[in-house]
Amino acid sequence: MAESVRVNVTVNGESRSSEVEPRLLLVHYLRDTLGLTGTHIGCDTSNCGACTVLMDGESVKSCTVLAVQADGAKVQTIEGMAPAGNGALHPIQEAFWEHHGLQCGYCTPGMIMAAADLLKRNPNPTEEEVRHGLEGNLCRCTGYHNIVKAVMAAAESMRSGEGVPA
């Protein structure tokens, strides 16, 4: 095993510092080292998007980033989307719930993070743009219909300033 390396990452607003194996994937760092198991793993070829998180504000597939590459970065995971404890949800989460945008829920954290990135870049997307924007995230349960609906609805509520988390 190679020498371990120290990484400093700000995760959901908290600064974390750990010794890691250089080959450790960011997704395993989040899940195993930090215990943030909301980020999932669904493939080994960067296809499914279950592991999507935001790194310095942009969506990345955390199975395709090494923890050491995240050194110095700000990472946001699903756990950081809504403040814990007060029951408030991010508008995207709210919309997924409202529009039945999930079934087994396994793809959901990745979908929500990908949607967050999409809506930041394009706050008023067409259905077509949402579908293309989520192309990197696979869902086997929903047929995407209600996911797309949820993202469109979230876009609307975020534009109108409703439902911004406290």
Binding site: M1, E21, R23, L24, H28, R31, D32, T37, G38, T39, H40, I41, G42, C43, D44, T45, N47, C48, T77, I78, E79, M81, G87, A88, L89, P91, Q93, F96, W97, E98, H100, L102, Q103, C104, G105, Y106, C107, T108, P109, I112, E127, V130, R131, H132, L134, E135, G136, N137, L138, R140, C141, T142, G143, Y144, H145, N146, I147, V148, S157, E162
Partner: protein, 825 residues
């Protein structure tokens, strides 16, 4: 925006029928779900497997020394080291039919039979370290000839998958009724077609995984499964441990689609190694392992023959099925194709219907249930044949369907194969579909577009599915021969405060049991679903249950929950009568009150009654305290959902690319408990089937190498390839259960593949294309167009060369293929 539930805002008065948002969602949308991989135990070790990279070989040696010497490695075992009491189970023993059954051990014993066959297991302290160690295990093989094409496997002189069985034919099984010879003689036209329903993967986004923890004499196994209670029963035999010492928990399960309706080698290995090492052992499947060694589905070649009279009357339908079962059996492998036979009549009154099945071993992984399991294959064959026959007769395919539909007034209707459809209105769903699709307008538009070189097509299918598995007397040991019962269980426990907990034997993986079952029980008890908690998937907390598959959840599991709740309601009424000093028969439950009939002012809420039940100073003589009941419900019949679907597609004839412009579905799953959940199930099913129709295929090459071993090669549809779906429903209650429900989890997968194929063929018919096998990839569509053009415009084009890797790709543009008697002609 707050996270307060809006469950009470339905249009109906009671909880049943509400579009209630799901109770399970708050934890899942915030990343607080608890899937197998989210569980870590103190001292936990990790397991990795060494799998065969050849399709068929004798193992001549396994050198584990290098791996054993690596830091952090605790154990390396092979098939010779593994001492378990029984091989992996297959539970179908049809009376009077011999099914050749190879022993299937968790680790190969001397021989490997497919790529991905587990050969050795490594356990160590580090997740990455065990993978490094597995790579150091050296397995020497003496390769044997592999057989990949199931029709070639049936030929004399073919290499054998299992030498000791002396044949690659697993079994023959048939179901039918009516006089087929007379039916075909009576027909004016007999349409024949070889239809390949290719191999696919369940491809749940959560791969499989499990953790075993042995403490003293007991073991707990967390596993991503659809059938925790059955897994426990099997483990008892394999591990030689009494059943009550085993606890199996299905935590949050990230999709199943049949692929987790099984008991797998890794579950046994994790338990075995945990006992051996005294530490918890976790195994997680990689996606590559999932595509190689989690059950595949479909893989049938259907030789179909339909007899029709000039006026459109169907006289007979005969399907000869060659089923590629792979190298070993999983739980239900040889039985799955038989399921097709039960619905081979489709929605039609056909005097003679016959299905003859031959199962075949090949050097591939086992097939088993994948969403629909046999019914999509049957429906695909029937609905493709209907449109083939219509084309042959020059008749409108919808007219042909209507002419042969079982009329509404015939229900309950016994069909030729001997099963009784419970209720239906096939004209009704088709009429409703056509309210959404204006066919005349479409045909005008289609003709116009063709003038501009745009090839647009419309395809239809209607379907009936067999759900609500199952009446035990029909499918049990002396019936069809599955060694089990198919009832479901539920316990409804009302707490002193009047809130309730339901324990179901059914085990969800995305369906929304926690919401749907809460609605049913709440309605029966006169409380709100928000106050009903549904527990599932833990063999230690509820009664034995059969699990979730075959669209059985609501009609069997939900019915059991409803019946247990009715028992509770009856006791609550007796208690209310006592408290109100009235006669029990005068008590009614109305608007959440247990009241003397017609006197709402003197009513009690469930909470008043439950408190009395648990503080029993004031209960009637002879009544036991508490408010809790159990139900084991075994249905009298199956339930038979049905529907009509249409797809409109555009085909780019230069590239062969198919775009789905519209997809419209009208389904009837009986009474709706929660329309939101129904729509979700329909959407998912349609997408799954469009995936099969256009993109997905498990492909092995001639040597038995798996070509589609990752999500790069196994192409699931993404959001960008699908349209939004248009769905509608009719409601024809089932008379089989008190709820009147049927089931809808597989509807989309059953209806959508023939809809898609029919639509693409409709688009390309002017070019002379009369049929294509799935998947309708651009390459295959383009080739079909070229071949049809090359062969003139008639449907009688050349017989296609078959590629063995997909056994039966593209018979595009070909005329009726002759069914081969006893194998390849």
């Amino acid at each position: 925006m707050s996270a307060v539930t809006e469950g009470a805002t339905g249009t109906q008065s009671g909880p049943i029928g509400r579009r209630m948002k799901r109770k399970e969602d708050p934890r899942l949308i915030t990343g607080r779900g608890n899937y197998v991989d989210d569980i870590s135990l103190p001292g936990m070790l990790h397991m990795a497997l060494v799998r065969s990279d050849v399709a068929h070989a004798r193992i001549t040696s396994i050198d584990k020394s290098a791996a054993e010497g690596m830091e952090g490695v605790h154990a390396v075992i092979t098939g010779e080291d593994l001492d378990v009491g029984a091989p992996l189970p297959m539970v179908w023993i049809p009376p009077g039919v011999e099914v050749k059954t190879p022993e299937h051990w968790p680790l190969a014993r001397g021989e490997v039979n497919h790529v991905g066959d587990p050969v050795a297991a490594v356990v160590g302290s580090d997740k990455y370290g065990v993978i490094d160690a597995a790579a150091q295990i050296v397995v020497q093989y003496e390769e044997l000839p592999a057989v990949i094409d199931p029709e070639k496997a049936l030929e004399d002189g073919s290499p054998l998958v299992h030498d000791d069985l002396g044949t690659n034919k697993t079994h023959e099984w048939a179901l039918g009724g009516g006089d087929m010879d007379a039916a075909m003689a009576e027909a004016d036209v007999v349409v024949e077609r070889r239809i390949v329903n290719h191999r696919t993967a369940g491809a749940a986004i959560e791969p499989r995984g499990c953790i075993a923890e042995w403490r003293g004499e007991s073991v707990t196994l967390w596993t991503a499964t659809q059938i925790p209670h059955l897994v426990r029963l099997f483990l008892a035999g394999e591990l030689g441990v009494s059943e009550e010492k085993i606890r199996v928990i299905a935590p949050e399960v990230g999709g199943g689609f049949g692929s987790k309706l099984n008991h797998y080698a890794e579950e046994v290995l994790a338990c075995y190694l945990s006992r051996k090492l005294g530490r918890p052992v976790k195994w997680l499947e990689t996606r590559s392992e999932n595509l190689a060694a989690t059950t595949h589905g479909r893989d049938l070649i259907v030789y179909c023959k339909m007899g029709v009279k000039r006026d459109g009357t169907i006289t007979g339908l005969h399907a000869k099925i060659v089923a590629d079962l792979g190298a070993y059996y999983q739980l239900l492998t040889p039985f799955i194709p038989c399921f097709a036979a039960f619905v081979m009549s489709g929605c039609y009154k056909i005097p003679a219907v016959q299905t003859d099945i031959v199962g075949v071993f090949t050097n591939k992984f086992a097939t088993d249930a994948v969403r629909g399991a046999g019914r999509p294959e049957a429906t695909h064959a029937i609905e493709v044949m209907i449109e083939q026959a219509a084309a042959e007769l020059g008749m409108d395919p919808l007219e042909l369907r209507r002419k042969n539909f079982i009329p509404k007034e015939d229900f309950p209707a016994e069909v030729a194969v001997g099963v009784v459809y419970d209720s239906g209105d096939y004209h009704g769903t088709l009429d409703k579909l056509l309210e959404h699709v204006n066919l005349d307008e479409f045909r005008r538009e289609q003709a116009e577009l063709r003038e501009h070189g745009v090839y647009r097509g419309i395809g239809f299918s209607t379907y009936v599915e067999i759900c609500g598995l199952a009446p035990s007397r029909v499918v049990g040991p002396s019936g069809v021969g599955i060694q089990g019962g198919f009832w479901e269980s539920a316990v409804v426990r009302v707490h002193p405060s009047g809130a309730a907990t339901v324990y179901t034997g059914s085990s969800p993986h995305g369906q929304g049991h926690e919401t749907g079952f809460a609605q049913i029980v709440a309605e029966r008890l006169g409380i709100e679903p928000e106050n009903v908690e549904v527990m599932h998937g833990d063999t230690d907390t509820g009664p034995f249950g059969m699990g979730t598959y075959g669209s059985r959840t609501l009609s069997v599991g939900g019915e059991a929950a409803g019946r247990a709740a009715v028992k509770v309601q009856e006791k609550a009424k007796k208690l209310a009568a006592h408290l109100l000093e009235a006669a029990p028969e005068d008590i009614e439950l109305a608007d959440g009150k247990y009241q003397v009939r017609g006197s709402p002012d003197k009513g009690l809420a469930l909470a008043d009654i439950s408190l009395a039940a648990y503080v029993p100073e004031n209960i009637p003589e002879g009544m036991e305290p508490g408010l809790e009941e159990t139900s084991f419900y075994d249905p009298e019949n199956f339930v038979w959902p049905f529907g009509a679907h249409a797809a409109i597609v555009d085909v780019d004839i230069d590239t062969g690319k198919v775009e789905v412009a519209r997809y419209v579905a009208v389904d009837d799953c009986g009474r709706a408990i929660n329309p939101l959940l129904i729509e979700g199930q329909v959407h998912g099913g349609i997408a799954h089937a469009i995936g099969q129709a256009l993109f997905e295929q498990v492909v092995y090459n001639d040597e038995g190498q798996l070509i589609t071993g990752t999500f790069v090669d196994y192409a699931l549809p993404t959001a960008a390839e699908l349209p939004s779906f248009e769905t509608d429903r009719t409601e024809t209650p089932s008379p089989v259960n008190d709820l009147g429900v049927k089931g809808v989890g597989e509807a989309g997968t059953i209806a959508a593949t023939p809809t898609m194929v029919n639509a693409v063929v409709d688009a390309l018919r002017p070019l002379g294309v009369s049929y294509m096998d799935m998947p309708l990839t651009p390459m295959r569509v383009w080739q079909a167009i070229q071949e049809a053009r090359g062969a003139g415009s008639g449907p009688r084009a050349t017989e296609q060369g078959r590629q063995t890797d997909e056994h039966g790709s593209g018979s595009a543009g070909s005329g009726p293929a002759a069914p081969a008697e006893g194998g390849e002609s």
